[in-house]
Structures are given as C-alpha cells and as structure tokens.
C-alpha cells in the first residue's frame, strides 16, 4: 500500500530492489567509475551494423545481468518500464521486441531512470504486481546524430555542452526482498526558465531539480542532513552550480551533494565539456555506484533525482525554450 502526500508517494510496504546492472561503453571504461560497472563493452558498435541496434544490445545485456543478479527469469517480470533518447523510443521498443513482457515505453529524456524506477516502484508498492523492471539507456553516437551533428563533422563544442553517456542500466523491483528499498517517489513538475541553448541543458534542468527537491522536503518533512547523499541526474558543471544557488536562495543547502554527470567522467582529462548526460548517465551511476553502496549499508539513505531536458531538435530549431523535468526516488537500506 502507499500514501500520497503532496507530490510524493510514500510506500508502506517498501518495494525492494532485488537486482540491478549496468553496462557501459569505451569512454565510460576510461572514467572514474569504470571498475564499478557490471560489464564494459569497448566496442560501442556491439558488433551491430548501426548505433541504434548497438544501444538495444547494451539494453539487452543490462536486462540479462540484472535478472541474473535477482536470480529470476524474464517470465517473472510483470511489467517493464523502459526509455531511451532515440526518436520514438526505439532502442527500448526493439529490445523488448525480443522479450515477451508487458511493456510501457517512456520518454523523460535524461530523467528516464528515475521516471521508470518511480513507476516500477509504484506498481509494485501499490500491490498491482509482484515484480517490475526499470530499464534505461543512451548511446553517444545514436544521440549525437539525433540531436546534434554527424560524428565525423568537424565542430567545436562549447564549454557548457555535455557528453552523452553510452550505457544501459536495468533495475528489478520486487514486492519481497532485501535492501535497497524504495521508500518514496516524487514525480516532477516541468519548469522552463527560458533557456534556449541546446548546449547548456544543465541550466535548463536545474530549476526543475530544485522544484522537485523542495517539494519532496515539504512533503516528507525531511532535511538534506537526513540523507547520506543526494544525487542529481546529469546537471553537469553548470546545472549543479545553479541548482545549489537556487536552493540557497530558498534557504536550503546541500552539504552532501553530487551530480551523476560529474561522477561518471573525469571532466577535464576526458574532455567532456560540462560533464556527462543522457539517460544512461544517471542509470549507470545508480546501478554502478549508488545501489551497491546502499545495498552494502555504506549509505543508508539516498535521494536520487534524475533530470531531463524535454526539447527535440525541431522545437530547438523553432526557437522554443527548453522545458526541464526532475523525478526523485528515496532509496534506503532499511524498510
């Protein structure tokens, strides 16, 4: 059962995360979290003929590994919530084409890991099903040609631009099981403060992250110090600075804060501009770094706030500003 207070759903029977896995690409293998991935595939083509198929291959690999770690088969999954950055969410659809499971495709841009995990937890936590899976991916090469320019085009990136992560993450949420547990989720409101620069998405998303975090604290009565760590999805250098400034103006400081986009790469050494981005970014950091630490009890309470910039190349060219969104998941080592 669950209780909704304000914007936040609090679970009475907290769903358990019984399996999780992430598979990363070459650039991720050169980053600080390389050792923590379940699997690294340096051939970012994954032996496929195009980048789009390669992204689905990353997803399939993450699904297999998460199911193995949970000790179950695909037949035990009641619902699969998945999303990616490709047009019409095709990486997920083509992955699930080969898996016989009830499927809901999601598009939350880079916030999709928190969105899919929120929905999977809500379905399990409210008793609709016993097991659900959240699956998310992004692929640098597939995203670049969708949102920017061809890979071999000789363009110079602005310092505020972020680097799309090549990775997939899968999480199995079950009604019964051990830590980590999902205690509560807050689905976000869209916030648009007029940012039109497609190369500064961190700035476009930061107000939405601040809004969701403030609403969660108001609903739960908790404070930042109640958490071992607060992670935002890929705000990068600019967005994470702006988030802290906005929250400071609202009288909230985050002493224990990191951004997934700043953790996954060594920003300066790997020449990734303002940090990592893409829905694979927060998915990879969640599955490789956050969940293992909560599972082992190193961290007891964590807020995972993945952020998304909900524009398309068409709206960008039409001069529209970028709507931002952020979804929050409270993950705990105790029920």
């Amino acid at each position: 059962m669950s209780l909704k207070k304000g914007d936040t759903i609090f679970f009475e029977n907290c769903p358990s995360i019984t399996g999780f896995a992430t598979v990363g690409g070459k650039k991720e293998s050169e980053g600080p979290l390389a050792e923590e991935f379940d699997c690294i595939c340096v051939d970012t083509r994954m032996g496929e003929e195009c980048w789009e198929k390669a992204e689905s291959a990353y997803q399939r690999s993450a699904v297999e590994k998460a199911l193995n770690k949970a000790g179950i088969t695909l037949g035990d999954i009641d619902y699969l919530f998945a999303g990616d950055l490709q047009n019409q969410c095709t990486a997920s659809a083509y992955t699930v084409r080969d898996l016989d499971v009830q499927f809901a495709g999601l598009y939350g841009a880079c916030s999709t890991m928190a969105e899919s995990l929120s929905l999977a937890s809500s379905f399990v936590g409210s008793g609709i099903c016993n097991r659900a899976m959240a699956l998310t991916s992004s692929h640098f090469c597939a995203a670049e040609r969708t949102f920017r320019t061809p890979l071999e085009y000789g363009g110079q990136r602005t310092p505020t631009a972020q680097w799309t992560v090549t990775a997939a993450g899968a999480v199995v949420v079950s009604a019964q099981g051990g830590a980590p547990y999902v205690k509560s989720v807050t689905l976000g409101h869209i916030r648009d403060f007029g940012i039109i620069d497609i190369n500064n998405m961190g700035a476009a998303m930061a107000p939405a992250a601040a809004e969701t975090i403030l609403r969660y604290f108001a609903d739960s009565g908790k404070k930042p110090i109640d958490f071992d760590h607060i992670y935002t999805g890929d705000l990068g250098l600019v967005g994470s600075t702006l988030l802290q400034e906005i929250l400071k103006q609202e009288g909230v400081t985050l002493p224990n804060y990191s951004d997934c986009g700043m953790l996954i790469y060594d920003r300066l050494r790997q020449d990734v501009g303002a940090g990592g981005s893409g829905c694979g970014c927060s998915a990879a950091v969640l599955c490789a770094h956050i969940l293992p630490e909560v599972q082992s009890g190193v961290m007891k309470n964590v807020l995972f706030v993945a952020t998304g910039a909900l524009m398309s190349p068409v709206t960008f060219m039409q001069g529209e500003s970028i709507p931002g969104i952020a979804h929050l998941v409270h993950i705990s080592s105790q029920k």
């Binding site: 085009y153 000789g154 363009g155 310092p159 601040a210 103006q249 609202e250």
Partner: protein, 149 residues
C-alpha cells in the same frame, strides 16, 4: 520558487564557463593558416610541373577536398577540429568535411534516402545562400558599372 526568468538568465550567464577566445583564435590561426599554406605549396608545385595558374588553382582545391575527405573518413579531421574550430571550418577542407561526414553517418539509411538525401544537410544552406549572395552581388555590380564606370 521566488526566482524570475530574468534573474535566472543572469545566474546562468555567470555560472556558464566561457570559451577560451585567445587560445581558440591562436589554434584557428595556426591550423587555418597551415591549411592555406599547404594550398600555396601545392599550387607552387603544380605550376612548376607546367600547369597554368588557373589549372593549378583548381587542382589545389581538388587536392585539399580529397585530403579532407580522407581525413574525415579516418576520423582525423574531427579530432583536429575540436581544437582548431574555425581554422578547420573556414577553408575549403571544412566544406568537404561538412559533405563527407553526413554521407558516412547516414549510410545505414541507404544510398538514396541516407547518403544522397542527407549529404547536404549541413552544406546545403551554404550553397543556397552562397548562390543567393552571388546573384545579389552580380546585380549590384551590373548597376554599379552602368552608373559609375
């Protein structure tokens, strides 16, 4: 949140790192100048081999385009461009890169709807507005000569 859009724009400008203009200009000058120097060297040798100045100029452009296409194919041009910026964008090699890179990228969508249709996705506007500008200048030049020549 109490924040207004205007305040946030100001905060964003302050929080966003700026491009390193001096460093970028030095890179662009050296690489762009280097490409032009290569063109001059090629032209000198083509002239020395007995070609007329017009033929040597045409062959120089064709050689630079071919070199750019080969470098793009191996991914070298893009690597250089991340540092050189306008230095690799402005010379004719940049135009060749803008045509070859989508041709490679969209090969998976077929030779007609992929390579053929997408080849000019970046260079197309340059051709359209370049031709428009040349027509406009032609008209101005025509009347200029009638009135002032």
């Amino acid at each position: 949140m109490k924040l207004t859009k205007e305040e946030y724009q100001q905060m964003t400008t302050e929080a966003s790192p700026k491009s390193q203009v001096v460093r970028d200009c030095i890179w662009a000058f050296c690489v762009g100048g280097g490409i032009c120097l290569l063109g001059e060297v090629l032209k000198y040798f083509y002239c020395k081999w007995g070609l007329t100045l017009t033929d040597a100029g045409t062959l120089t452009s064709a050689t630079l385009i071919a070199l750019s296409a080969i470098c793009t194919m191996f991914g070298w041009y893009q690597k250089l461009a991340t540092k050189a910026g306008a230095g690799t964008l402005v010379p004719i090699t940049g135009f060749a890169n803008a045509v070859v890179s989508p041709a490679i990228e969209f090969k998976t969508e077929g030779y007609i709807t992929g390579v053929g249709a997408k080849m000019f996705v970046i260079a197309g506007p340059v051709i359209v507005y370049g031709m428009l500008a040349s027509v406009a200048w032609g008209i101005i030049w025509y009347f200029w000569r009638i009135l002032f020549a």
